[in-house]
């Protein structure tokens, strides 16, 4: 029937947003049962172009044995592009700024801002990268928004081989899909 097909379609797309975090959570706990957190690497911000959000693409030495340099650089460059898109000043942002000013900025209460839309895309991208590239190599990227946009935190897991109790490292947080 028409309504059930509609519901199934909606359910599918919603799962991608809301149930997927559950999926990541379990794969995180799987990681924790079979691996322990060895180290964390922090990719710092690159301020050479001002205060716009940009991360350094320098390849950290701790990841040399874990992941290819090109994959890592691709990830960081894509993230930098997303942030540049979020903060871009162009014709559309002028229009939005003027409209917002005319309404005494009340539209910020009703509408989702452009930055928030891009942040959602970034969260999805990071989740995808974690699933496809980083988790199979025992790495996990944390969304920079959870660290105040200061760093990209990459957690390095070591394979323990035995499933003991979880290491209780509550400092690791999963990426979010918003």
């Amino acid at each position: 029937m028409h309504i059930e097909g509609y519901i199934a379609l909606f359910w599918d797309s919603l799962k991608r947003y809301y149930i997927n975090p559950y999926c990541i959570t379990l794969s995180l706990s799987e990681l924790r049962h079979s691996a322990s957190l060895a180290n964390k690497v922090f990719i710092q911000r690159d301020y050479s172009e001002g205060t716009t959000c940009k991360f350094q693409t320098k390849f950290p030495s701790e990841l040399e044995s874990r992941i290819e340099r090109t994959l890592f650089e691709d990830t960081v460059k894509t993230l930098n592009n997303y942030y540049a898109e979020a903060e871009k000043i162009g014709g559309q942002s002028y229009l939005e700024g003027c409209l917002a000013c005319a309404t005494a900025y009340l539209i910020f209460l009703c509408m989702e801002t452009r930055y928030e839309k891009v942040l959602k895309k970034i969260a999805k991208y990071i989740q995808e990268q974690n699933e496809k590239i980083y988790a199979p190599r025992g790495l996990l990227i944390t969304d920079p928004i959870e660290r105040g946009m200061r760093v990209i935190e990459i957690s390095i897991y070591e394979d323990r081989g035995s499933s003991g109790s979880s290491s209780g490292s509550s400092s690791v947080s999963g990426s979010t899909a918003r």
Binding site: T25, S29, T51, M149
Partner: protein
């Protein structure tokens, strides 16, 4: 992908969902093994801020003279509408209260937005981050005394900028960020802490602040002009100013307030217009960071050398998000053995929240939230808090079959 999600959820392990939460729970809920209700991040925020409406509104701990500001604006505008508008509508035009009303509403809204918005507070560094930074700098490993102030130099647009290490927040402050001692927070693009507004002025609320002072200067000038016209019209025909003031005493109060405030507010607006046009902050201007006082050839590395572009990059840049995630839930500490941990994922502030839990236990917030439901199909407990986006709430009840009653 679909198979992956369903396989990981074991339906047998799901608890019987409680259809309705118990309406009255006394002290025994605290004695239960389950932890207390999940707390939001604003409840453990380390800075000196106060939160209202469950984290939606943030103000500095000392409200400064915000009540005085509000009082002055309300009193002056009230007197204007009561005493001056009737006379001016009769003798001049009825546009006057309309313009006055629009300006008044504008001023009030932008003032409240400036006071209640997160100015761009940077969350403090996590212990891991702080340790990593310490490792990079500290060679001796002796942490028993406070090390000398640390700085890091970066090159921004061919200009050397020194980044200072913040001992409170345990991180190197990004450029243009400053630590406000009144609020005990690092604020991005810190302009100043405004006592009239009761909050810091930083990256996220600078445009509200600027609009506030510009519209306030228009409002003050407008009221001043109208009151002067009113008194002049009343004093016509040789009746004298004293007679006019006696007839309309409120106008005297307005005249005094407006006369003294219009100069300072106009001056402030002019000053901030200059700052916006040259992409400077009050903090930088006062310290003379880019004025080349020391004789070096320093220029403002953030200025685009074009007034229009500078204005747009300050006022029209897309609104940055709040980094402190006031309404996100705190991650609970994981228990070691059964893995019945609640892994709570932070979400964007003021949007809908979801508690995703392992299937073994119904999360503790079930009993607290009257609008929570637990989906037996997917093991997801949904805290359907009343949010501004009510459409999303009804979508959930529509789409999840188990919630559909």
């Amino acid at each position: 992908m679909k198979n992956c999600e369903y396989q990981q959820i074991d339906p047998q392990a799901l608890p019987t969902p409680t259809p309705t939460p118990p309406p009255h729970h006394g002290k025994d809920t605290e004695k239960k093994k389950e932890p207390r209700r999940p707390r939001r991040k604003w409840e453990v925020f380390p800075g000196k801020n106060r939160f209202y409406c469950d984290g939606r509104i943030i103000v500095a701990r000392q409200s400064g003279v915000l009540p005085l500001t509000l009082g002055l604006i309300l009193v002056t505008s009230g007197l204007f509408f009561i005493f001056d508008c009737p006379f001016l509508v009769k003798h001049l035009t009825s546009c006057i209260p309309v313009i006055g009303g629009v300006l008044f509403v504008f001023v009030l809204i932008t003032l409240l937005q400036t006071s209640f918005t997160d100015p761009g507070i940077l969350p403090r560094a996590t212990p891991d981050e702080a340790a990593d930074i310490e490792k990079q700098i500290d060679n001796t490993g002796n942490t028993s005394y406070r090390p000398p102030p640390r700085t890091k130099e970066v090159l921004i647009n061919q200009q050397v900028v020194k980044l200072k290490y913040c001992f409170t927040c345990k991180m190197f402050r990004p450029p243009r960020t400053s630590h406000c001692s009144l609020c005990d927070n690092c604020v991005e693009r810190f302009d100043h802490h405004c006592p009239w507004v009761g909050n810091c002025v930083g990256k996220r609320n600078y445009r509200f602040f600027y609009t506030f002072i510009v519209s306030l200067s228009f409002l003050t000038a407008f009221i001043f002009g109208c009151v002067t016209t009113h008194l002049a019209l009343r004093a016509q025909g040789g009746k004298g100013l004293v007679f006019a003031l006696q007839e309309s005493p409120g106008s005297a109060v307005e005249l005094v307030i407006c006369f003294f405030s219009v100069w300072s507010i106009l001056g402030l607006s002019g000053f901030h217009t200059y700052l916006v046009a040259s992409n400077l902050t009050t903090n930088e201007d006062i310290k003379g960071s880019w004025s080349g006082k020391s004789g070096e050839d320093v220029t403002n590395p953030y200025s685009q050398k074009n007034i229009f572009i500078n204005c747009c990059s300050v006022l029209c840049v897309p609104m940055p998000p709040s980094l402190i995630d006031r309404r996100g839930f705190l991650p609970t500490d994981e228990s070691a053995q059964t893995g019945s941990a609640d892994i709570e994922l932070p979400t964007l502030a003021a949007k809908s929240e979801i508690n995703v839990t392992k299937p073994e236990s119904v999360p503790p917030c079930v009993s607290d939230h009257p609008v929570l439901t637990h989906c037996s199909l997917c093991g997801v407990s949904l805290c359907l808090r009343p949010s501004t986006n009510t459409r999303r709430r009804s979508v959930w009840t529509l789409l999840c079959p188990a919630l559909a009653d």
